[in-house]
């Protein structure tokens, strides 16, 4: 599985949505991605890539696209 597939899958499974719906998705745009869902998403991504994000990055993780930039900091290339 590519990193992009893993990344997308974390969104799909956490929020129970399709890969199609992840495109351009932003924090709070769907009811599942609220502050509770956010922490679940972070946990899912940390498991998937075996990383631990800094608190500031958790706060800045505001969209599907922004998350890719943030993961790059942890040497996870999701392009």
């Amino acid at each position: 599985m590519t990193n992009l597939e893993k990344y997308t899958k974390a969104f799909e499974e956490t929020f129970n949505i399709t890969a199609e719906q992840t495109k351009g998705l932003e924090y709070q745009a769907i009811s599942e991605w609220d502050s509770v869902g956010h922490m679940s998403l972070i946990a899912a991504l940390e498991d998937a890539f075996d990383i631990m994000m800094d608190t500031d990055d958790i706060i800045d993780f505001s969209s599907f696209e922004k998350g890719k930039e943030i993961l790059a900091k942890y040497d996870v290339d999701v392009k």
């Binding site: 709070q28 009811s31 609220d34 502050s35 509770v36 922490m39 946990a43 940390e46 631990m52 800094d54 608190t55 500031d56 958790i58 706060i59």
Partner: protein
């Protein structure tokens, strides 16, 4: 306008009295002006008291509004379509709740400020986290209480989050055992509300004659002492009992409220609550509302540089407190340090721990 990205580079306990006074006066005056221009109700209030910004020499002169006003009025300085989140206060059944309107910007800086302050105590690494509450608190997302918001806000400091209580508030011994086994020899973070910890954790462990080794733990707790005061449990006794039962010796109480989320006041190792550079406390005389001298109990006023989406930068609370000193706490942190005596008489019961405890 305030440049929050710049401000948040400040170390939270790094400014001495004069510097902090200058910083807060400038920031809070600019917020007063901002809310005057953007919140009609606030403007009317300032108009009614003949507020004149030119007469402000220090942030002590900036008007405060009673915290209860957020229950009665829709106070916001943003348009309806900019509302990102509405936070509500804890309140017992039948009480009206405060409504705090946040836009994305204010919500994000609240969270960043919380991180800035609390990481001074927990360290910057996220720690395995044991939450002394039941998972049901954050299950009902539509009715998000201050208790759930507190848990969520603090859960950013944790990883591998585990709940120590079941949905019916009974203690989940096996979950705790598994958690401790998994994180043996690691520093762990424990978080909860004071009364829940006392009633459902400490007392239950005593009853079950069960001991856990939590000597690697740091406990952060808050939400009100009212019920414990009535059971005659002091801060010291709370600490001592937890230490003797589970070796927990790094315990920090905090004071904060949903109306000024982000600016928490953390207790240091000497048990003193500390104001960070982002906020301050002033105690006021109950009769004429003039500032009290240090050491004299008064009504607590809180100011914070964070509230931009709602006019909550200067609030008179319903708590009584005492300022113990400024810049000279033995822990070395600069700024005022204080203690909270409790709620003013006849004030409503609130606080995440207290509203829950009123059922007992």
């Amino acid at each position: 306008m305030i440049n929050y990205d710049e401000i948040l580079k400040l170390s939270p306990f790094s400014l001495g009295k004069d510097e902090k006074q200058k910083f807060l006066t400038e920031s809070l005056l600019s917020l007063t002006q901002h809310h005057y221009n953007n919140c009609e109700t606030y403007k009317n209030m300032m108009y009614a008291i003949n507020f004149d910004a030119k007469k402000v020499n220090s942030y002590y002169d900036i008007p405060f509004i009673p915290v209860s006003l957020f229950k009665e009025l829709e106070l916001r300085s943003i348009n309806k379509d900019e509302i990102f989140k509405v936070m509500t206060s804890s309140g017992t059944t039948g009480q009206s709740v405060s409504k705090i309107y946040l836009d994305r910007k204010t919500a994000s800086y609240q969270q960043k400020t919380l991180v800035n302050i609390v990481s001074q105590f927990t360290g910057s690494a996220r720690l395995p986290m044991l939450i002394i509450d039941s998972p049901s608190v954050i299950k009902n997302r539509a009715m998000f209480s201050a208790r759930g918001a507190g848990i969520l806000g603090f859960s950013i400091f944790g990883k591998d989050k585990t709940y120590a209580l079941n949905d019916d508030m009974s203690i989940n011994v096996s979950a705790i055992e598994q958690f401790l086994e998994k994180h043996k020899n690691e520093k762990i973070l424990l978080f909860g509300f004071t009364f829940m910890i006392w009633q459902h954790f400490y007392k239950e462990l005593l009853k079950l004659d069960k001991k856990f080794d939590l000597s690697n733990g740091i406990l952060i707790h808050g939400g009100g002492w009212k019920k414990l005061v009535s059971e005659a449990v002091s801060h010291n006794e709370f600490k001592n009992r937890l230490e003797s039962l589970c070796g927990l010796n790094d315990i920090h109480d905090y004071y904060g409220m949903v109306e000024q989320t982000g600016c928490v006041y953390m207790a240091c190792e000497h048990g003193h609550l500390h104001a960070s550079v982002f906020s301050d406390v002033i105690t006021r005389d109950a009769i004429d509302l003039s500032p009290c001298e240090f050491g004299k109990p008064g009504i607590v006023q809180v100011v914070s540089v964070l509230p931009e989406s709602y006019p909550g930068h200067s609030l008179l609370t319903e708590d009584e407190g005492v300022i113990l000193g400024e810049d000279d706490c033995p822990c070395g942190r600069l700024g005022k340090y204080f203690k909270i005596n409790g709620r003013l008489k006849n004030a409503e019961i609130r606080g995440c721990s207290d509203t829950y405890a009123s059922k007992f």
